[in-house]
């Protein structure tokens, strides 16, 4: 037991050394570029630059050469981003033109590009670090880009290591299939509620305490996993779906950081929210299915892992939960003091 404790301590210290900067689990604040056509070839521009460690992300849109700025640039700081507005005039319009985001390749986030044409048709595209430019098709082919929200949802869960680790922790304490269904459903319902609440702007949670609370939810599962190893029981082990629901509410606010930060027009929120949530569910179910299938495969193939390997996922949940809790509480305290 003492050896295991030392091992965990060493692992936490190692992780702290390797990752002095906050892990990117909740750093996925996408940028947002909105272009609204107010006249032939004339666009109102809204440019939202997220904050990274309190500083403005060093990214900027590059418009086609046929475009020129015709209005003043007004910039203001909002809670989690810098907002700039201006007007541009594009002699040949924006159909089939490319907009690039300079500097995006230096970050691990995306920029959602939304273009509203004069006839009301909307194009929504995602510029990524590996592909920091998008090509517009024009009003005739609009609405195609709504799938961008689905992509953002899948990306948010697949890169949200803390969410996946929480789900893994739940899977490790669940004993039977029916409890598994109840637990996964409870988590889904709960995070869908708060995702909607946050996206519609009904309630907001500051990111620093939220991230610390999410880390705490993962750490909370660590001792519960150990109890299952020892054959003990607890309220969480008997009713994991309750814990999944309660903490799922927190994680929903975390998911919302990928969507609420964009400041989408009210009319587009319901569909964007639906697709984003479906994307999150696709990623989450794929992960759950993979874990279940792997567990079943190891059982069929009669693979007997050494105890340390068998318990590694549990150790990972507890250790990373502890690490993130310390790290994020430190960030929270720094912000407060």
């Amino acid at each position: 037991m003492i050896r295991a404790g030392r091992f965990l301590l060493a692992l936490v210290a190692l992780l702290a050394t390797l990752a002095p900067a906050p892990l990117p689990a909740h750093e996925l604040q996408p940028g947002f570029l909105e272009l609204r056509e107010v006249g032939p070839g004339r666009f109102e521009v809204l440019w939202k630059q997220p904050l990274v460690g309190g500083a403005r992300m060093q990214i900027a849109p590059i418009f086609p050469e046929s475009c020129r700025q015709v209005g003043e640039v007004r910039t203001e700081r909002v809670e989690i981003a810098w907002l700039s507005t201006t007007r541009i005039e594009c002699a040949q319009g924006l159909a089939e033109k490319t907009i690039a985001i300079d500097g995006l390749d230096a970050y691990s986030t995306d920029v959602l590009v939304r273009v509203q044409h004069a006839d009301g048709a909307v194009e929504t595209l995602v510029a990524k670090p590996v592909q920091p430019a998008v090509t517009l098709r024009g009003a005739n082919d609009a609405q195609r880009g709504l799938w961008a929200y689905l992509y953002l949802g899948i990306e948010h869960i697949l890169l949200g290591l803390d969410h996946l680790l929480f789900v893994l922790g739940l899977l490790l304490i669940v004993r039977d299939r029916w409890t598994l269904v109840k637990t996964v459903t409870a988590f889904t319902v709960a995070h869908s509620i708060t995702l909607a609440v946050a996206t519609f702007g009904v309630a907001q949670v500051a990111s620093a305490p939220l991230n610390a609370a999410i880390a705490l939810s993962i750490l909370f599962l660590g001792p519960e996993i150990v109890r299952t190893w020892r054959g003990q029981t607890s309220f969480t082990i008997r009713h994991p779906w309750v814990v999944a629901f309660v903490f799922g509410l927190l994680h929903g606010f975390g998911f919302a950081s990928g969507l609420a930060a964009l400041g989408l027009p009210q009319g587009e929120i319901p569909l964007a929210l639906l697709l984003f949530n479906v994307g999150v569910e696709i990623g989450q179910l794929a992960f759950v299915l993979l874990v279940i299938l792997l567990e079943r495969s190891f059982r069929i193939l009669q693979i007997h892992w050494p105890q340390i390997v068998e318990r590694l996922p549990g150790y990972a949940v507890g250790t990373l939960g502890a690490f993130w809790t310390i790290q994020r509480v430190a960030i929270l305290l720094r912000a407060v003091v």
């Binding site: 992509y151 890169l159 792997l294 495969s297 190891f298 069929i300 193939l301 693979i303």
Partner: protein, 187 residues
Amino acid sequence: MLGALNSAPAHAHLVQTGFGAFYDGLAHVALTPADLLVVIALALLAGQRGTQAARWALFAFPAAWLAGGALGAWIPAEATLPLLTTLTFGIAGALVATDVKLRATVVGVFAIVAGLLHGYVNGATMAPGGAGALALAGAVTAVFCLLAIVSSQVTTLRAAWTRIAVRVAGSWIAAAGVLMLGWLARA
């Protein structure tokens, strides 16, 4: 023969999912036909030969893939060795189709050879595309998961028609290999 082995120049390519290097490596295996087919064929073969052979393949193949991938990234090849990679999945498919009673150790040795070869080509083509250790880890994870899931399912098959279905799948993979070899010879 040596000319045929080196007939295709290596093009740096890496599937870009936009989800980061780990998922890029994962998708690279899923979207590279020779890689995907060799994993499926080996999984069918190992599953066909029972749990012991499946266990051998499950640990030998990804480990060899990792070693080969690291070697390929370190000493990139000038060519992608399409003849050898096609031969490996074609032979694996043929072994499944003919239901040859191989011993578990033979399946393990085959897994090591195929893993080293495909891993090497994988690393050699991914590394110049900017992929690092994380992409290789993604590729090996994909190989491990796919192999574990498919081979374990095949070991549970008891009905005669399901065993035939596995052999049919093997024959399709072998046929794909023959077609590919013909195309390579023509090129």
